[in-house]
């Protein structure tokens, strides 16, 4: 049971560690630098000089507190878009890459179903998700404690806990693309591109007549900045992300079960 998940998790571990350490270093430094920067810069004044749309789009007013600052500097972009795109990319290259390199035949020759293989490979994504979450959470909280401006522990924990359904949805989308796209490169491009595109879409349509289109973007359902600055959690959003995860996995499993591997 879960031999494939274990095997693939081992494969993902080195990259997970590198990303975790990099993000932790970045997040930790930003957190430690926050009090100094916030003391020097008048965010309100700055906001008034910039076009209103930019201020709105990037939530610049929230920047005045350490929670808002770290939310914008780390979670709202690098974390939400960067890591989300990485997970979708990584998942998208998984089965498509196995097919392209002829590795899948060796595995499918064993008495394992394709459905199970797909599911187990998806589960392996929990390794980067959990490792990176734990390390970055520790670093940011630790750094905020060091500079004596502790971020509310429950809120910071919520940012990380609620990121799990979000990243799972990104990974499930990537997994679906991995079996549905004809080539690995294309799958990876679609996987990562969809996350970045989703963010752009949400940003562009917000405040317009077609703002409902933003519902397609996964980041509509997970907003780390709001969690950090207001302490509000989007439980329904997390539910939608989990439902999307299941949906993509089921669709991927059905498709993968029917298609010729070649």
């Amino acid at each position: 049971m879960f031999e494939t998940t274990r095997f693939e998790s081992e494969q993902l571990l080195p990259a997970s560690a590198v990303i975790a350490v990099s993000l932790a270093a970045f997040g930790g430094l930003m957190t430690m630098a926050a009090p100094g920067i916030l003391g020097d810069v008048d965010v309100e004044a700055l906001s008034e000089q910039l076009p209103a749309a930019i201020v709105e789009a990037f939530d610049l007013r929230a920047m005045g507190t350490i929670e808002g600052f770290i939310g914008l500097e780390l979670y709202q972009f690098v974390w939400l878009i960067g890591l989300g795109a990485y997970l979708a990319y990584s998942a998208a290259g998984a089965i498509s890459g196995d097919i392209e390199d002829g590795r899948l035949d060796t595995v499918l020759a064993a008495p394992i179903s394709r459905r199970r293989l797909l599911f187990e490979r998806f589960l392996a994504l929990l390794t980067p998700i959990l490792v990176i979450n734990a390390v970055v959470f520790g670093a940011v909280y630790g750094a905020s404690a060091v500079v004596n401006e502790p971020i509310a522990l429950a809120d910071l924990a919520a940012v990380h806990v609620f990121s799990i359904p979000y990243f799972l949805a990104c990974g499930a989308f990537g997994t679906f693309v991995s079996v549905a796209a004809p080539r690995r490169l294309m799958a990876e491009g679609i996987g990562a591109g969809a996350i970045v595109g989703g963010f752009l879409l949400q940003t562009l349509v917000s405040g317009t007549d077609v703002s409902w289109l933003g519902a397609l973007a996964p980041m509509r359902y997970y907003d780390p900045l709001t969690i950090l600055t207001t302490g509000e959690y989007d439980l329904a959003g997390a539910g939608i992300l989990l439902a999307a995860t299941v949906g993509f996995l089921l669709a991927g499993a059905v498709y993968f079960g029917e298609v010729d591997v070649q």
Partner: protein
């Protein structure tokens, strides 16, 4: 129940024909050679049988499981060993980790024993493996769960001659234990050594299905004689003489004439005819499987003749004896240049 059975099995990739209407079966304990040139449909057949792709038409069973019944075929695969033509592995891990992983998927009852025969460097990462080492690892994976049926796509490819021989020996020994083999190949000497029966596939169609022995019987003998007289091909218009070739050395030298042909008749009339000449040298040997094979391969008579000549060349190269060397050598060169 036969371990492997197909009935009208066809696979098209869109409009492109992979295989069409293949009907054959492999008996328990048999070594079945599946022969054909590159692109004939060998790998397509094997991958369809393994369930990696669905047939367009027709049916097939593997150890009794219908290949379109995913769950049944999955169960059957627990008892099937598969050796792909180009084994692909995750190359970031050591051979040992891969062995452990695949062992956990299919069970491992005899990898230790296999590793004594085929010994890839398990502690090294697979990315550092040579083609031969990858092949050996794939062989260990194919046999590690002691399956009843082995499906192998060009099993000796990449192996050095010693290991090739070892694998063929191992296949024979496993056959004694009641294992069934279905393997594709284009190397006839290995087919000759281990196969009981062969199916020959060309352009996606099965064009021959026969015992190796009767295939060889039917194909006759290769006769090559050197006589000190001048003669032409019509001197040997006996029944059963095919593909006659006469060469007189070209420069009227004293070496006489060399005549060679394939012969499917009785010995006596042939010998009588030969003794009418001043016979300098004579060899009668089993026709190389290559020649028979080439006959099935040729798309048209001209291409066929060319290929048979190529076949002769190949055989000459392998069996060359000192007496016939010099002149044939030049002939071979000129033929090669012509082709």
């Amino acid at each position: 129940m036969r371990p492997l059975e197909t009935n009208g099995l066809s696979k098209y990739y869109g409009e492109v024909r992979g295989i069409e209407d293949l009907t054959f079966s492999v008996e328990t304990g048999e070594v079945f050679g599946f022969l054909g040139p590159n692109g004939a449909g060998k790998t397509t057949t094997i991958r369809t049988l393994m369930g990696f792709q669905s047939p367009t038409a027709g049916t097939a069973t593997v150890l009794g499981a219908d290949i379109t019944d995913t769950a049944a075929l999955r169960g059957a695969r627990a008892n099937v060993g598969y050796l792909p033509s180009e084994p692909g592995f995750n190359e970031n891990v050591t051979g040992r980790r891969l062995l452990e992983y695949h062992g956990s998927l299919r069970g491992d009852v005899r990898s230790d024993e296999m590793l004594e025969l085929f010994d890839p460097p398990l502690e090294r990462k697979v990315r550092e493996y040579s083609r031969g080492n990858k092949q050996m690892l794939a062989i260990v994976l194919a046999f590690m769960h002691d399956p009843d049926l082995l499906v192998m796509d060009e099993p000796t490819s990449g192996l050095d001659p010693l290991k090739q021989e070892r694998l063929l020996e191992f296949i024979r020994a496993e056959q004694q234990r009641g294992k069934t083999f279905f393997f594709s190949s284009h190397i006839l000497s290995e087919v000759r050594k281990v196969c009981d029966r062969v199916g020959i596939i060309r352009d996606g169609h099965l064009i021959e299905l026969e015992d190796v022995e009767s295939l060889l019987d039917r194909s006759g003998k290769m006769v090559r004689a050197r006589v000190n007289d001048a003669l032409d091909g019509s001197a040997f218009d006996l029944d059963g003489v095919h593909d006659i070739e006469v060469s007189d050395g070209g420069d009227g030298s004293t070496d006489g004439t060399t005549i060679s042909f394939t012969y499917t008749g009785a010995y006596e009339p042939l010998l009588r005819r030969l003794l009418a000449y001043d016979l300098h040298d004579l060899s009668i040997e089993e026709a190389p499987l290559e020649d028979i094979f080439m006959r099935f391969y040729g798309e048209n008579p001209a291409a066929q003749a060319e290929r048979i000549e190529d076949g002769f060349d190949g055989r000459d190269g392998a069996d060359a004896t000192d007496e016939t060397d010099g002149k044939d050598g030049t002939e071979e060169d000129s033929e090669t240049a012509d082709v």
